[in-house]
Point group: C2
Chain length 331, copies 2
DNA sequence: CTGTTAGCGCGTTCAT
DNA sequence: ATGAACGCGCTAACAG
């Protein structure tokens, strides 16, 4: 692939390859004069060490693998930016694996990552099993998981407090006088979905309202799901007066459905999303939502990964925040 | 990093490493019986070939590097998805480099990519110079550029016809009776900005309207720029009746500014964006825009890259499309 | 059909 | 302060 290698530089400088290596890597045991001469020659020849040979010897790639579920959902880009910014400060590059909600792709990327191109992995994806993650970790690969509580001696995690999020959203709606609150939830198998549902139930219980599973649905977390579920819910005789969605993008689908059905938001229907992505303040009306600190999540994941690479394990929960805009109102 | 290597499998099976390699890679010259036995042992030992050793030998990484400017702008995720989907069909993984509009980061990623982790590069970023790209191409690295017309024997490109896009947007506004049309453009040095400006000028000329450079500004292509420029434009005595923006995200900024100033869209101000990202149909009012076929752009880039790796060079232009929604109306 | 040898491009001994 | 030899893990080329 690359043109000039270390041997050619060595030949040009009339020294051995190891001397070139020492010179260019700033290692001791070489005279300042030779170093300068070699550095100059290397630059002239436009020499850059071959990555493939380098990582094979050093056993370090200076790369981090970041697995995410859906790059089209703005939640993830913000997370990625947080991770990338922090990683690049330490000279690390982030290799992004986007899985488009496909379990097979998650497995493929994880397999790929585990074969050597990265020094550690951050997983922000829900399909892959804890067992699979633990297996990789036990092979010696440092792993940090995002938004998944995984207690294991070799794995760290950072997560939004999802139960708190579900609780905040539901409580907000209850306080506004709603009692029939639908929850258009995410994938059933996902831990995140389950924890938010716990928060939802907890709030209901505190308000003394019976839990009704007819108001809950589990979905692929994309806009269309929100749209379809909203149509279903709003066309029944006993339609809910408020809808809480698994994420903002799904809430956009709900808003769209309500508009098409001529149902006014927030007068006739209140909507609460989750994530607080950039576009949520631009919808009509602007979306009330539970904010996740996405950049912080990405940043902390990298920080915890670096610690893990040095043998220190540490995990943490980040509190979400209720952002009240204009899709919710008193019943 | 990885636990068990090919030698251990060989030892366990009582054969040589090369036999194991043949068995696992499906190469000929090995008895079916031995192959099955080795495959079984490899699976039992949970062996997966070490990527680092493998690429050093095969000279192929099965990776593509994809350089993008701003992952937070939904234009790019859609492009990435198109690229990824097509690449993964051929067993390739996409390594994403996000540069957050920083020239230094673009250079870093390009440097990294050129040192060996990928078999080819797709560049959808504007800061890096043609010279730099050509240098890398001449080192033997297959490169495809997106939205940049770069004629060079070793480089392919795929681009939206930007001049056409600028022309379509401006012509649409002219037909609606607008004559004072501001253009909140992208980065000045960017070829894309320049080509769209050409289209804008061409439409103006055809309508017999003089070009007024006061109506043109060059900006970092993020939402805030649209907001700030709109405030500036709309607070002057001679405010334009229509604004064309470099991308949809900037148009969102314009909409926000107009709302804050109490200016009604589209009655008092028409707005046309560029890209047609997913959220543009969710704004209030839904945005009129020039659609780029983003997934197609990503898909074609990979296809052209594969061709380039086999020595065939081919480039193409994709026609954009005017999507009329509700931010434009007759003057 | 299988084993041995060599080499990808580096960094790291261990000598000198 | 510098060079020679070795090895990272794998596959390709050559032998048998």
């Amino acid at each position: 692939m690359r043109r000039v290698n270390i041997q050619e530089v060595a030949k040009e400088a009339g020294v051995s390859p190891s001397t070139v290596s020492r010179a260019l890597n700033g290692f001791p045991g070489i005279s300042e004069k030779t170093r300068e001469r070699i550095v100059e020659i290397a630059r002239k020849l436009n020499y850059r060490p071959n990555y493939r040979g380098q990582i094979l010897t050093t056993q370090s790639t200076k790369n981090i693998g970041l697995l995410i579920t859906d790059i089209a959902n703005p939640f993830f880009p913000e997370l990625v930016m947080g991770a990338e910014e922090y990683a690049s400060k330490s000279g690390y590059t982030v290799l992004l694996g986007n899985t488009s909600e496909s379990e097979e792709k998650e497995t493929n990327y994880l397999d790929f990552f585990s074969r050597g191109p990265v020094d550690g992995i951050i997983i922000s994806a829900s399909r892959v099993s804890n067992e699979h993650i633990i297996m990789l970790a036990e092979e010696g690969l440092p792993i940090v998981v995002i938004n998944r509580i995984l207690e294991h001696p070799k794995i760290s995690y950072v997560s939004t407090d999802m139960e708190k999020g579900g609780y905040l959203a539901t409580m907000h709606l209850l306080r506004l006088g709603h009692s029939k609150i639908a929850f258009i939830n995410g994938p059933k198998h996902s831990e995140v979905s389950q924890r938010r549902l716990e928060g939802y139930k907890k709030a209901l219980k505190e308000a003394g309202i019976d839990y009704n599973s007819d108001l809950i649905s589990f979905n692929v977390p994309v806009s269309e799901s929100g749209y379809k579920e909203a149509i279903k819910l709003l066309c029944t005789g006993e339609a809910p007066t408020a809808i809480f969605t698994y994420n903002d993008v799904m809430a956009f689908g709900v808003i769209k459905a309500a508009k098409e059905l001529g149902i006014k938001i927030p007068e006739e229907l209140s909507v609460v999303g989750f994530d607080d992505i950039f576009f949520s303040s631009f919808t009509d009306p602007p979306l009330t939502t539970i904010k996740q600190f996405k950049e912080e999540l990405g940043r902390m994941a990298v920080e915890l990964l670096f610690k893990l690479m040095e043998g220190e394990r540490e995990s943490l929960l980040i509190e979400p925040e209720l952002i009240i805009r204009n899709t919710t109102s008193r019943r």
